[in-house]
Amino acid sequence: MLKELKNILIRIKKSFAFSYFILIMIIFLPTAITMPSLSFRSAIITAVGVDRSLEGVEVSVLTLSEISKDNMGENTKLVAGTNSTVASAINSIESQIGRKLKMGHVGYIAISKDLASENIANVLNNLIITTKLPNTVSLVVSEGSAKDILKQTDQLEQSSSFKIREIIQNEFNVNYTKDTSVDAFLKGYLSETSTSTLGYIKLTNDDNQGLNPSENGSDNGSSSAKNSNSSTNNNSQSGDDNQKTTISFQREHAVFVNGVFKYVLSLDEMKGINWLVESDLQQILIIDNYTGQGLNDARITLDVLGDKINPKVCFRNGRPIITYDLFLTVNPVEIMQNNKNFLSPKEIKIDEVLNEKINQKIKLEISNTISKLRQEKTDVFGVYKILYSAYYHKFMSFLNSLSDKSDFLSYVQFKINVFPKIIAN
């Protein structure tokens, strides 16, 4: 038996692969055994905030701590560093905690509105280059200090199971088709129109909004909606001064031109944009004052299950005309007449009146948004790209004929045709 084992061992020793394996072990095993774990060498960052400070910029980070907690949540610490540049501020944080920052797990970056009044593309580029930050991370603009946003979101995460990064992902990237990642921001910034949009969040003291954690801040609160548009608002209670501070997501979007914050698009204005971007997103469409099919002055709530958009471009007298054919699949979910449920929603059909009402409603939402965009001279939903891709030369000569190229949207004619269809039950 021993002899056989010895023979096997001799045979293994003779093979090149085994010798090479032993060599690799000799080289790497001692280092691997004695090396401290990754979490002791580096700090795992879950969120980043960037503010303007007197010295230049203040970078705040939420870093995961290894100390175990009683509950299942993550234990995080807020660390901030201030200096004249992003790289030096990060270096200052690394000196404070004695570890290198690892950005692979960053959920979101908050940038304060103050800082956003300058070109933030440079700040983002510096962050990506200095820290190898993944460029798919969500980016939000905070009305107040980004550091405060980090503090509040940390408290909310400590006291509940809600993850802010998931809420941001859901609020800005899933409920609305506008991608708010760093990559999307830079794409917009480097595009021909230099326009990008980002999620917009703010801290308020309004106690009536959204989710309220209990007084001791350890239980999940109950959820309530602020308005009929069912926008979710999430609150967390500040522990320092017992004043309730709310992190508010109103589904607003900050618009940037050349990397500089310009204005905020409201929820209703974002709806107008959402109709013109093809997606599988669910939206709610409320039709008021409908009369027909046995209903009188009723309110019908339609669940929009998906839309197909077919933009067609043509030029007339050198001016572009875009026709959007919008094919909607809707599901009637609620009918209210005299504040009472009157008819089963399943029985409703799209007749001429309802079709007209849906058309009017959507066209109104879109035209309000386009008016705002024309007024601000910003192209947020990619009109430039559609025209540029469809008729490059005609579009270029149209642009050259304009005295102010940034105002091209005012000269583009929009035609909207909505074709609603009720989903077969």
Binding site: I128, N135, D179, L186, K187, S191
Partner: protein, 370 residues
């Protein structure tokens, strides 16, 4: 004699097309010529296909002669040795691009502290071993792995945001023809994939009718690569400088599956399969060129020398991907053009004016009988 059959040759052709095109090239195409990069890619692919066609035609005309023997026969031993010395350097640069792209990819996907020497320790012995075991084993392994690579690539395509209209890509003829040609010249080293067919032509067991099979494989791979490029170009038109790892970025970007966790493993596996097969092919070609150049056939000797040269080049000349891209687009582009033109033009002349020897006629007769 060790020989590659038609399927193995076709698999190697397909893998050669994939190896240097899935990481840095799409980003370079976009940076150089914006969306006209697609035109650049198509032109270079067409040049490659023409080269492959010419090499296979020559194979038909001189079935049992390699590139070295053909050059030696018509231009003498010294010219043959000069060409083969140039080819050693050519393959060394190719293998360096392959290694540096892989290290960059691993640093982006697996661990940012991934070190070059760790990669060399796990890459060079394996490719040396595959190449050392002979062309037949090399071909069999490649034939086995090829199907997984293709399936993996198709999965990668489905993981990406594949549904888009071509209109979103924008116009692709926006650059001037001169800029497009300049870009073709600059990025030539990422193409010219079928030189190995000329070098190993005496070891390929291919009949006249087999050309169709090889081109079928090649076109299929071309379509896959082109689809990946279309998706990449549509997604990262202006931010290409941030997306140097095309295959990973294309599969990662899909926001619809963003919450499903990390699924980079598919692209990692596909790419690892590709680099090991391609690395072993480059290594085998290096061995052949080196042995022909020194005129001494010893596998052990050539294996050790080539390994040492690769390591030395890596640590003394090309430290990282940025440096090798700089060298290739600034200086080595002339070298690539020289190799491609020298071999292709020589073969075209042979096709037009070269006479077939008695030996060739006898083999042709034999093939026709079968």
């Amino acid at each position: 004699m060790e020989q590659l059959n038609v399927r193995q040759t076709a698999c190697f052709c397909g893998i050669s097309m994939l190896a240097l095109k899935l990481i840095a090239l799409p980003s370079l195409l976009l940076e150089n010529t914006n969306t006209s990069g697609l035109v650049v890619a198509i032109i270079l692919f067409i040049i490659d296909f023409l080269m492959l066609y010419i090499f296979l035609k020559i194979k038909q005309k001189y079935p049992n002669l390699s590139l070295y023997e053909i050059i030696e026969k018509y231009m003498g031993k010294i010219i043959a040795k000069i060409i083969y010395f140039s080819l050693i350097f050519f393959f060394l640069i190719k293998i360096s691009i392959l290694m540096n792209e892989t290290v960059s990819y691993m640093q982006a996907i697996v661990d940012e502290d991934f070190k070059l020497y760790v990669f060399l320790l796990t890459f060079l012995p394996i490719i040396s071993c595959i190449a050392y075991s002979g062309l037949k084993n090399c071909g069999r392994t490649c034939e086995f792995g090829f199907i997984f690579i293709i399936i993996g690539l198709i999965i990668c395509l489905f993981l990406s945001e594949i549904s888009f209209s071509f209109g979103e890509l924008g116009p692709i003829f926006i650059e001037k023809p001169l800029t497009i040609l300049q870009s073709c010249f600059n990025l030539g080293f990422w193409f010219s994939d079928f030189i190995f067919v000329a070098i190993l032509s005496d070891k390929l067991k291919i009949k006249n009718t087999d050309r169709k099979t090889i081109f079928m494989y090649v076109f299929f791979v071309f379509i896959l690569i082109f689809l990946i490029y279309l998706i990449y170009f549509r997604l990262f038109r202006v931010t290409a400088y941030l997306h140097k790892n095309a295959i990973a970025d294309v599969t990662q970007y899909n926001r619809n599956i963003g919450n499903a966790g990390n699924i980079d493993i598919v692209s990692i596996l596909v790419y690892l399969f590709v680099i090991y097969f391609q690395g072993s092919l480059y290594f085998y070609c290096l061995q052949v060129c080196y042995e022909k150049f020194i005129g001494y056939h010893n596998k052990n000797h050539s294996m050790v020398v080539i390994n040492l040269i690769i390591v030395a080049m890596q640590f003394l000349v090309f430290y990282n991907l940025e440096r090798i891209i700089y060298f290739n687009t600034e200086y080595f582009k002339y070298y690539n053009a020289f190799i491609v033109l020298a071999i292709t033009l020589f073969y075209i002349v042979l096709l037009l004016f070269g006479k077939e020897g008695k030996n060739v006629k006898r083999i042709k007769k034999h093939f026709n009988k079968n």
